[in-house]
Structure formats: C-alpha cells, structure tokens
C-alpha cells in the first residue's frame, strides 16, 4: 500500500513537474510573447526619456511631489535602464530567443537540407496560391529542356525526373535566406553578451587635468600627462575644435604621444581617453601680475609679472617672490584648516605667494584680487605686495573608459548586418512543375511558394511561363 502510494505520489510529482516544465517551455516558445516583450521594452523605455535619470533623490520629490516622487524612486525609474526589472525584461527577451531558436532551428535546418522532391503528386501544385496550368504546342521533352534551361539561367537549383511523356521538375533558390532570421537573433545575443561583459568588466570616469599635470590610474600601470591644451577657431570666430596633447608614461619612459580632440580619442591598452570638456583652471595660473609698493610713500609702485612656481626677483628690492597657489573662488574651512575653491568660477580669486629675502623664506601670504592690501604681505615691513591681475591656464576635461565588451558588440552588429541581408533580400523560392504530354499539346502545371515578397514570385512565374509558351 505504502509502496503504491509513494509510487503514485512520485508519478504525480513527475507529471506535475513535466507539465509545468513544458508549460513554461511552451510559454517561452511563443512569438506572441516576443511581440509582448518588444512592445513592453518600447513602452517602458519611454519613462526613462521623460524622467530625468540619475538625479539626486530629493529632486524627484521636489519635482513630482511626495507620492509620485517616492513611487519613481521605489520603482527605480530614476535609473531605469539599469534597474532589475528592465534588465529582467531584456533577459526575458534573450531566453525567448534561445528557446525559439532551439525549438525551430533544427527542424528548419533539416527541411532545408532534405528539401528535394524528385517525385510528387501533381495535385499538390494546385494547392499553392500561385499556380497555373497551360498547354504548349511542343513535346514534353522539349518543354522540360526549355524549362530547365530557363530555371538554371535564373539561378535556380533543379532536379527532374520522369520519362516518356511525363516529367517532374522541382526547382529552388535562396534557401540561405531562411537562415537570416536566425543570424539576426544570434547577433542580438552577441550584442547583449557584449553589453554584459562591458557592464561587468568595464568602467568609465572623468578627470580634469591642468597643463603639465601627470596622473596615475589606480587599475593601470601607466601614467598620463597633459602637455598642452588649445582651441582652434574658424575664421568666423566659431569654435572649430578642442585639442589636448597627451603623453603616456610607462616604467618611467614616454611610450606614446597623441593629440586628441572631440571624435578622436587616445587608446592605450584598452583604456580610452576622450576630450570631453575644458575651461580656465580654478587651481592654477600661468602667471600673476603683482605690484610692489611702499606702504605710505606715493609713486613707488612697480608692477611686474610672476610666472607660476618660478622665483622672480622683485625690481629694485632685496626680495624675490614665487606664486605657489591659486583658487578661483576662495573659501576657508576652519575645521580642517583647508583652503578650497567654492566653484570653478573666479568669484573671489586669491593667490598664495612666497616672499624670499635671499634664500630665506620671509612669508607666504594669501593675496586677494578683490580686496587689495587687507592683509600685509610681509610682516613688519614698510613694503607690500598687491595682486592686480593674472593670466589663467586651461584645464582639459578628459573622460576615460574601458569596455572590453565593445568588440563583441561590433561583431554582433556585423553578424546582424549579414542576417538582415539574408532575411530581407534573399527570398526562398520553391517551384514544382509537372509536364504531361497528350496528343498534339503538352500540359504544364506550375506552382510554388516564396517565403516573402510575393511580387517577386509572381514575376518569376510569369517569366518562366512566358519563356515556354513563346516557343
């Protein structure tokens, strides 16, 4: 009893799993599902273009109100293309493709290989949407020879059989076109694979570099130096191009130098550097303009330029100065005792200089362009330095990224191109012809199918029949 019950339960279980399994399989094997997923992808993608992506969370609350803002955040609509449900939808599409291909490709392949029909029931011909019967005043053999000649000239493959006054011809063309959709589907899987590889192993970031800076990248063995940045203009004054001259340094050696611009990145060991941005540096100058003066005596001012980080003798004095710091929008953090720039804009330009008397450092004050002379530059002295202007230097904004999946995506795209040509422009045509002689005339039945583009097929049939009836 117990044995039986157990067996029965197992049987039930197995059947239950099997039906569930085949149910899921049938569900995934459905083209209706494909249409549904495609439409769902299209429809949901719209949200991502209407709702700003990756903004700070508070912004959604402020813009859409408490309820809707929270809903957006909760459903990941603020970063939807990377959300679990959007990726799930794409994965669903991929599984759908795999199942459809597994299910349909093998029988299709087999029928494409074993398609030749040397003998067939002539009644079959009348079942085709495109069929015709005509009688011709020539011998069956002559009709057959003429047909085979025409078909071959039209690049059809042919087999024929029969003898005496009855012949069968089967002709085909463009079988390979049937594989176009499979190529397309495989190419999509490749592209998705490339995207997956990229999202796992790739990264993307950006840096701002002042001319002359060298940076090291944490994951890479080499360093990058910005040698120069400049802008080209058209004669009309419009900006033509932004350029950076970059040098790659590896093991202390300069291994590569390249001028990059928008549309022309530098690629070194799979890491690519793009010209993305530029501007006037907020933490470096080319030179500052200083005035040296006596605090009370009038008419003693001398003005002179000081290059960045270069000791310069002050005319008619025992001092020399050096500009070692700059901030475009001066701010001071009392807790950390740090000077920083509040923004990139020169709202409150300040420079830090070092004043030397011979070799001896006398002082290192900050000077402010907007507040000349509020702090004395040299303590206990009758003389003072005033900061009166400067020449800025450019920074270059570079984006850099590494994406080892990119090449897989390109291969996928190329396969897709081939798949499209096969799917849309190579039509699979199959023609059945039955020739039967009887008395003076020969009766010819012709019919067949094309997998798409019925116009082309109608033309084919017309041309074939005309070629024999015009004899």
């Amino acid at each position: 009893m117990a044995e039986n019950a157990k067996q029965a339960a197992e049987g039930m279980d197995a059947r239950w799993y099997r039906t569930l399994g085949s149910g899921i399989w049938a569900f995934l094997n459905s083209l209706k599902l494909t249409i549904f997923i495609l439409i769902a992808l299209a429809a949901t993608s719209i949200f991502g273009t209407a709702i700003e992506q990756n903004a700070p969370l508070q912004k959604y609350i402020a813009e859409y109100g408490e309820t809707w803002g929270n809903l957006i955040i909760y459903t990941n609509l603020d970063n939807m293309y990377y959300s679990w449900w959007f990726r799930g939808l794409i994965l669903f599409l991929a599984v759908n493709i795999v199942v459809c291909t597994l299910e349909r490709f093998p029988p299709k392949w087999k029928s494409l290989l074993e398609h030749k029909q040397e003998r067939f029931d002539p009644k079959l011909i009348e079942k085709f949407a495109h069929h015709e019967t005509l009688s011709i005043g020539a011998s069956p053999e002559a009709v057959r020879d003429r047909l085979l000649q025409v078909l071959r000239k039209k690049r059809f493959g042919t087999v024929s059989s029969g003898g005496g006054d009855e012949f069968f011809i089967y002709a085909w063309k463009g079988r390979i076109g049937r594989l176009g959709s499979d190529m397309t589907h495989i190419s999509l899987l490749l592209i998705l694979l490339g995207a997956l590889v990229g999202s796992v192993y790739g990264y993307r970031d950006s840096i701002f570099m002042n001319v002359g800076n060298t940076v090291k990248f944490s994951n890479e063995s080499f360093m990058l130096r910005l040698d120069k940045f400049w802008i080209d203009y058209y004669d009309t004054g419009h900006i033509r191009q932004y350029n950076s001259l970059l040098t790659i340094i590896e093991d202390g050696k300069e291994v590569m130098q390249k001028q990059i611009w928008v549309n022309e990145p530098l690629d070194y060991k799979g890491l690519k550097f793009y010209q993305a941005n530029y501007g006037l540096s907020w933490n470096k100058l080319e030179e500052a303009q200083l005035t040296f003066r006596h605090k009370v005596k009038e008419g003693t001012e001398v003005s002179f330029p000081v290059k960045w980080n270069t000791a310069t003798d002050v005319p008619n004095s025992k001092y020399s100065v050096k500009v070692i710091g700059y901030t475009a929008d001066f701010a001071y953090d009392e807790e950390d005792n740090l000077v920083y720039s509040k923004s990139e804009n020169p709202n409150n330009p300040a420079i830090k200089i070092e004043v030397y008397e011979g070799e001896k450092l006398v002082s290192s004050p900050w000077l402010f362009l907007n507040y000349p002379g509020i702090f004395p530059a040299i303590p206990d002295s009758d003389h003072d330095f005033v900061y009166t202007g400067h020449k800025g230097t450019w920074f270059s904004g570079l984006q850099y990224s590494k994406d080892p999946g990119t090449n897989i995506v390109w291969v996928g795209s190329a396969v897709m191109g081939i798949g499209f040509i096969m799917a849309f422009f190579i039509y699979h045509r199959r023609v059945w012809i039955h020739i039967k002689g009887g008395g003076q005339s020969t009766e010819m039945k012709i019919g067949g199918t094309i997998n798409k583009n019925t116009f082309a097929f109608e033309r084919d049939i017309r041309e074939i029949t005309e070629s024999v009836s015009s004899n």
């Binding site: 299209a42 273009t49 993307r204 419009h238 549309n263 793009y274 191109g417 849309f424």
Partner: protein, 295 residues
C-alpha cells in the same frame, strides 16, 4: 540670397504641383495626368538634390548639420524611394498620399525659425571625417570632400525614416481600402488604388527596407559615439527613442510571422511606428534634452 533657399522655394512649388497632379490622377484616372505627376515628381527630386548640393557648397561640409538640412534629406529620400517604388510596382495613385506627406514636410521645414536653417560651420562634436578617406582623397587634393560618421549615420537613418513614411502612407491607404472592401462597397475614388492585400504587402516591403536601415543608423551612431562620447551607448533620449522605434518595427515583423497579425493590425502597428519616428525626429529634438545636436 542663399542659393539653397532659392532651390528650396522652387522645389516647394513643384511638390505642391506634384501632389495636385497625383490627386488629380487619383480622381480622374487619366493616364496623361499620371505621366505629368511622375514627371513633376522627378523635377521636384532634381530640385531637392540641388538644394542639398548647393547647401554642401555653401557650408563646406555634408548638408546634414541642422534640422532644416536634415528635413531636406528626409524629403529627398522619401521622394526617391517613392519613385523607385512607382517604377517597380507601377501604381501611381499611391503618389497622392506620399507626396502629401512630403509637401507637409516641406511646409514644416520652411516654417522653421531661421536659426535652424542657417549655414553653419560644424561644431567640434560633428567633425568626424574618416581618416582613411581623407588620406585617400588627399592624393588628388580632394580631401575636403571626404565624408565621415556624421554623413553616414544621418543618411542611413534618414533612408530608414523615408521608408517608414512610405509604409505609413500605405498603411493609411490600406485601412481606407480595406474598410470599403470588407463592406463589399464599391467606391469610385478608391478604384485607382490597388487591392488591400497588395497595399499590405507593399507596406511590409517598405518596412523591410526601413528596419535594416534604421539598424545601420543606430549601429553607426554607436560606433561614432564610441569615438565621440566615450562609449557606444549612453541612453541619450535620441538613442533610446531610436531603439523604441526599432522595437515597434521588430514587433511588426514578428507579428507578420504569426499569420493572424497581417492586414489591419499590421497597419496600426505601422502607423504607431511612424508616430514614434516623428517623435524620434522632432519630439526629442524640441522636448527632451540630450547629447544630440539636433534631429
């Protein structure tokens, strides 16, 4: 006066005449009217070609760098595509609807504010000439005529748009014709246009051209973005909308494979697809901010 604008005006007049002639052919079914219509369409195509050529001469680069120029390209491709179709299938009455779409496009291009029509040098992001082509042509001192990703990307995309526009026109005609066919009603006006089954098939054939061209447009855009923006895909609204459009047409193609979805539902999908194209082209440019310079 800028020469390209003169040609544009000339073309505009001819598009209006062409549309009228095709409509006349539709109503009166006189052979000579049809021949005149086709001839006018050819003249209009010539004039549109001249707009593009003269604009290329004026700006010193391919005429694809602002909305107005791209509209002219769209009009050119739609007209050329239509004439090819007419030549192959010999159905002229369809011209009335396609040329109406083209004339509407001409009208909207002409109403664009001046800043969308101006002759402008290429901004930095649009300078994408192919180096191999530049160096090849420089042997004969023709390097200024080299083309690049901008040209390739825009032209392939717009051939796609044009095919979708034609398919849209055919889908509308299909719905019209099908409506009266299914009621077994004979409407004189509709006799000039082919059977609904033929219209359905032609609408599909147009998409069979548009779909791969849009795909090539998307892929070439991705290749270009990989040079210009630091990655082949960044979910910029234009990119996303092109994908949305592409998905709709992919749904259309699969709908046809599952037999039940030919005819009416296919026609609705084609119309939906073209609505997406219009949004992709104009809506995104004007409503959604993004990396794309225009169009």
């Amino acid at each position: 006066m800028i020469l390209s604008l003169v040609f544009f005006t000339f073309a505009f007049i001819f598009y209006i005449l062409t549309t009228t002639a095709y409509a006349g052919y539709w109503v009166f079914r006189k052979k000579w009217l049809g021949q005149i219509a086709t001839a006018m369409a050819c003249i209009a195509l010539g004039a549109t070609t001249m707009v593009l050529i003269s604009r290329a001469g004026e700006s010193g680069h391919g005429p694809f760098s602002n909305l107005w120029e791209s509209m002219v390209l769209f009009i050119w491709a739609t007209n050329a595509g239509y004439l090819l179709m007419e030549y192959r299938y010999k159905f002229k009455a369809i011209g009335a609807i396609v040329m109406s779409i083209v004339t509407l496009a001409m009208l909207s291009a002409s109403l664009l504010p001046y800043r969308f029509k101006d002759v402008e040098p290429l901004n930095p992001a649009l300078q994408s000439k192919w180096k191999w082509m530049t160096s090849l042509l420089s042997r004969w001192d023709l390097q200024n005529y080299a083309i690049g990703w901008l040209d390739f990307h825009v032209v392939t995309t717009f051939i796609g748009y044009a095919a979708f526009a034609i398919s849209f026109g055919l889908a509308i005609l299909y719905l019209l014709k099908n409506r009266y066919e299914s009621r077994q009603q004979r409407v004189k006006l509709l006799e000039a246009i082919p059977d609904s089954k033929v219209l359905d098939e032609m609408s599909y054939r147009a998409i069979a051209w548009g779909f791969p061209f849009l795909a090539v447009g998307i892929v070439s855009g991705a290749i270009w973005a990989n040079y210009a923006w630091g990655g082949y895909w960044s979910w910029d609204p234009k990119e996303t909308w092109s994908l949305i459009t592409w998905f709709i047409y992919a749904a259309y193609l699969h709908a046809r494979v599952t037999r039940g979805w030919r005819g009416k539902r296919a026609a609705y999908l084609s119309i939906l697809g073209f609505a997406a194209v219009v949004f992709l082209y104009w809506g995104v440019s004007f409503i959604l901010p993004g990396l794309h310079a225009y169009a």
